[in-house]
Amino acid sequence: MSEEFKIEIVNPEKSFLVKEDVSEVVVPAFEGEMGILKDHISIISFLKPGIIKVSSKSGDENYYVEDGIVEFKNNNLSILTSSIYNLSDMDKSIQQDLLKKAEEEAGKSDINDQAKYLVDQKIEVLKTLN
């Protein structure tokens, strides 16, 4: 029995990534990192800023996401996100831009706790990328 399942990452503009042969995916779920293997229980959760790690036969791929929803059902993993970047072809300048934007937002005075938490998270992740 193969231990592989299907992943689909979509953003509003298009289908970002479809892969049939992934063995493990680690997503930055809201309450902590979550590893998903084949035959995981059906789950819906949402993402905080972080790195999605997709492991398949052809090697590991890393993606940076800022938000999104994960749905896993019948060995189909769907990730809906509005902002996703492939780390291997992500420019330093894009990183810097995102970091700058996040820092600006964190500096605002009218930010609420949850948003503040997310922005801090974003900054932290972006800094580790550099």
Binding site: V10, P12, S42, I43, S45, F46, S82
Partner: protein, 290 residues
């Protein structure tokens, strides 16, 4: 009858108009292909989003305390209508069709003595509506600078709507846009987005999901995103419809111009011939009288 010179000028002007409409048709055709493509590519996202929300709302434990975006405020007094039109004209009945649909909805609401608020997206809708409903328009959003429909713009509209909803400014929100069927047919649509209307979508599975964190929290995070997604979908459909509509309108215009040129050319040739005949008769009768 117009003189030969006048006819000549008119033929030239109709011909140059024809050139413009032909060029516009070509441009619209090229843009249409792109818009159609992105409308198709954007579909999975909104479909998946819908699915997840459906699954969530069927799994929600306490319907009474469901987020307001899903269940509504319990009242139906103030209606917000988001009318999405294009920023450019010369696209046939595209804008008028949306406006017509929206206006009939407006009058229905006003007949029921409910309050009406309007947000227009795109300047053409604003131009047409401000004459009759000027006092009802609370905001006009226009994306003249952005070339293609993008999610960032849709999100901006979504945020405006959610802000107003949370401030208690309205109870029900409906968006108006043109659904793209094919190049010659676009169907004006009214879609209610707040409270969420799961029209007969009963195929949600009974399968139980694990939620992390709990349903309510996910829902309250997801629903605002869904609003933006629905708006984005409407924008994509709209831009495909706009180009399709413009293409067929410009095609018609080109054909009409061609017919006009033919007619004017015949008239021109006839009057030229008449002038020649007249001159000949004069010469001949002059010769005969000698």
């Amino acid at each position: 009858m117009a003189s030969l010179d006048d006819l000549k000028k008119r033929i030239a002007s109709v011909k140059s108009t024809q050139k413009i409409t032909k060029a516009m048709k070509m441009v619209a055709a090229a843009k249409l292909r792109k818009a159609q493509e992105s409308a198709e590519k954007g579909r999975p996202y909104s479909e998946k989003m819908n699915n997840v929300i459906l699954n969530l709302s069927s799994g929600i434990s306490d319907k009474e305390n469901a987020p307001k975006l899903l269940a509504g405020t319990g009242q139906e007094k103030v209606h917000l209508c988001v009318v999405m039109t294009s920023d450019r004209g010369l696209c046939g009945g595209f804008n008028s069709n949306i406006i017509k649909k929206a206006k009939s909805y407006f009058s229905k609401i006003l007949d029921e003595n409910k309050e009406l608020k309007i947000i227009t997206v795109g300047s053409k809708g604003n131009d047409q509506l401000k004459r009759t409903y000027g006092d009802k328009i609370i905001e006009n959003i226009s994306f003249k600078e952005s070339k293609n429909a993008n999610y960032f713009d849709a999100d901006k509209v979504g945020k405006v709507i959610i802000e107003k909803f949370e401030a208690g400014e309205f109870d029900v929100c409906t968006i108006f846009f043109n659904k793209f069927k094919n190049v010659i047919t676009q169907i004006p649509q009214a879609q209610q987005i707040i409270p969420l209307n799961d029209e007969g979508n009963e195929n949600s599975s009974d399968e139980s999901y694990e939620f992390e964190p709990d349903e309510d929290e996910i829902l309250s995070n997801l629903l605002p995103k869904n609003i933006s997604t629905q708006i984005f979908k409407a924008m994509l459909e709209n831009s495909a419809s706009e180009q399709g509509s413009r293409m067929s309108a410009m095609d018609n215009a080109t054909r009409n111009a061609g017919e006009m040129v033919d007619k004017l050319t015949i008239e021109y040739n006839r009057s030229r011939q008449a002038a020649i005949t007249k001159e000949l008769i004069e010469i001949i009768s002059g010769a005969e009288s000698l």
